[in-house]
Subunit: 429 residues, 2 copies
């Protein structure tokens, strides 16, 4: 069984069993297993395992995994644990934790082997054999060429060194052309964007002087991209994002995450009541209009929800940028109008077939064109506006857009009804 | 500049410029650049470049990239292009295209080097040097150990071969313990799930006899996971999923993708009108209730949207499975009731402060508890039901849930109003 499969079992059993089982795991497999455990289990084990075991686990963990663990621990405990590290590991851990939370530096593995251009392939291989101990597989496969001031010049794969003519080939001749890199202080979402664009298994990470400081592997960015997508869909659903999985989050926590937005949406939607009160005379005189109100108004929210989900995802994967806003706007007006017309025909048919007559049909059709277009505009522009304000575009959730469109939709619907019924039927309210 | 950056420019200029520029690209860089282009541009170039260039591009492309291109081409053109391949490349292309669309086999790179357990490290390295030509970097870094019937036994990294004592170490002693693999016919989403679970740069792919047939790298599964997330958020927004990016999709296509669901939602929401007609007497007699209708009913949709987004994502990343349905149900009833109570207090306050009186306040509060709880139930159960029916859970979009909750919400609201107003104010409708 792979460590990840064993970790799944450890995450499911209760804490005492987990500790009892952990003691049975052969020493050499403990670190990998520990790295795969959920944060809660890691915390429990650190608390309850003998000191000597904790010390060996922490010193043997891969630096990137250890950073993930440390950044979630409370500071007092973290400092206590850092003291258990050897001088070398402590320096690594402190350097990584010095990068801001959510930065590429926190995802990074600081272990890499640097070669010089003028080395021969055999020298490079000997250098690697000499220093290999303690490096990860990825760090041994992807070697970097730096100049005398440690600036990144390029990349050499272990494969090309092995395959090269051993006595004569120079590292320089085997090196790839200068490749894109990321700053350690860049947002971790940029690492995900990097793999979206470049088809490569790792990113070289440099500091602000272009000095190579580590690498980020595709697997690490995979998790970031997955988390990003999870956050976006949760926010778009109209709630605060969860930090853990559904079942790992307590019921109280779930209520907290959902109640805030739900209450805010409720307060926002309260304006629908004010809007309705504004048209009280119409409501009382023409209850037939009220029958169609939920139908007409919700169509605007639906159209807005469609446009918003397109924009939120397009912004996340950088297919649309802020500069495109007017192109999006014109497009969404055209699309909204067409969609409104299609629904307008359906609405007209519903009124005529349902026996409410052509006049009501015309009111429904005109309102639908207006409301569906308005929905598409709000749905597409709100995410862009939030982005411009440096907020998360996904906050323009489906329910939030529906709320805005509900309030405005009531005005559009009743005003169109008043105008049409006055002009064509001589009815005044 | 990296090929991916150049490809971005090529994707933006018009077709004649794109072809003119492509002629200027040095021959050795053309294949990589071509692989990075969007499908539309690839198609145009295949159509307009000289035959000899097309032939060399197709023969030099990495098999996995070529499969991606071929699977989107129409069959006649594809067959014509396959004929341009050399005997060896044609065999590879046809083998990969024989796997079903959307399967792991289509993502797979069929190039790998197989070693035997009894080889010495030096023999293995010589074997690799001898056969290296034409293999990708990843295929040279991750070597596989197979038995005499080509069954997968384990993995050896190039790094461990290089670092090992060259004359005495056996492949067997350097081999990792048997590792998880995937079937070539498995759904490509399983490849994404694999990287979610295991922290590894590649997956060994086997056929139904456990014979190794290729590898899938993390970068390839990254794109699959990204696409999955895009599809989920678009569907959750209430529309059919786009095949291209927002701007690459034509306006007509966008309208088609959105009109279907919008019309369907409109037809579904039509039941609100029937529901309203059912309570026509109440609507006419108590217009004050109507004023609050959009507010109360939309809260149920919001609560449902929250629960649905949690379930859709939890199902996608396999944190929740179908078997958990009753745990989810009990939880959502509890959470829904609490959220309903919170909104109920707000609703009661709104009615009292707004001067509509305590009785209306009680009607609002009771309705909110009922509707918000109902929303949470529908929002959480609909994705699970769709999953059980082997449909995509994300089809239970935010607007779809709002529609269902709207219809039922009207019944809940008016019935609670009728009961309370009859019992405590003696009003009958």
């Amino acid at each position: 069984m792979d460590a990840a499969d064993v970790a799944e079992i450890f995450d499911k059993v209760d804490v005492p069993s987990c500790i009892a089982l952990f003691r049975l795991v052969p020493q050499v497999q403990r670190t990998e297993l520990f790295s795969y455990l959920s944060f809660d289990r890691q915390e429990e084990l650190l608390d309850r395992l003998p000191d000597v075991v904790v010390t060996s686990l922490l010193n043997q963990m891969e630096p990137a995994d250890r950073t993930q663990l440390f950044e979630d621990l409370d500071e007092v405990l973290r400092d206590k644990l850092i003291e258990k590290l050897t001088f070398k590991e402590r320096a690594i851990a402190e350097k990584l934790l010095a990068y801001p939370e959510g930065s590429v530096g926190r995802l990074m593995s600081p272990e890499f082997i640097a070669l010089r251009e003028e080395m021969k392939a055999t020298e490079a291989l000997n250098h690697l054999r000499w220093y290999a101990d303690g490096y990860t597989e990825a760090a041994l496969h992807h070697l970097f060429v730096v100049d005398s001031s440690s600036k990144l010049l390029g990349h050499v794969s272990l494969a090309s060194l092995v395959v090269a003519d051993p006595s004569s080939a120079l590292v320089k001749s085997l090196m790839d052309s200068p490749q894109p890199s990321l700053r350690a202080t860049a947002d971790e979402e940029e690492a995900a964007g990097f793999f979206r664009k470049y088809d490569t298994p790792y990113i070289p990470i440099v500091d602000d002087k272009d000095v190579l400081v580590g690498i980020v592997e595709a697997e690490a960015a995979f998790d970031v991209a997955e988390e990003e997508a999870t956050e976006d869909i949760q926010q778009f659903g109209g709630q605060a994002t969860l930090e853990d999985s559904y079942f790992q989050t307590s019921t109280v926590e779930l209520i907290k995450k959902r109640a805030g937005w739900l209450a805010l949406l409720f307060l926002g939607t309260m304006f629908t009541t004010n809007a309705m009160e504004h048209f009280e005379a119409v409501v009382k005189a023409a209850s037939i209009l009220v029958m169609f109100l939920p139908l007409i108004v919700s169509s605007g929210g639906n159209s807005g929800s469609q446009a918003a989900s397109l924009m939120i995802r397009s912004l996340a994967v950088k297919e649309v940028s802020l500069r495109d806003w007017y192109r999006v706007l014109f497009r969404e007006i055209a699309i909204g109008a067409c969609l409104g017309l299609i629904l307008g025909v359906l609405g007209y048919a519903r009124a005529v077939i349902g026996g409410q007559g052509q006049l009501i049909g015309v009111v429904l059709a005109c309102s639908l064109v207006g409301i569906v277009t308005f929905g598409a505009i709000i749905g597409s522009m709100l995410p862009l506006l939030l982005k411009a304000l440096r907020l998360d575009p996904a906050v323009s959730s489906s329910p939030a857009i529906a709320s805005v469109v509900d309030v405005v939709g009531i005005f559009i619907f009743f005003n169109i009804a008043i105008i049409i019924m006055h002009r064509y039927a001589g009815i005044s309210f």
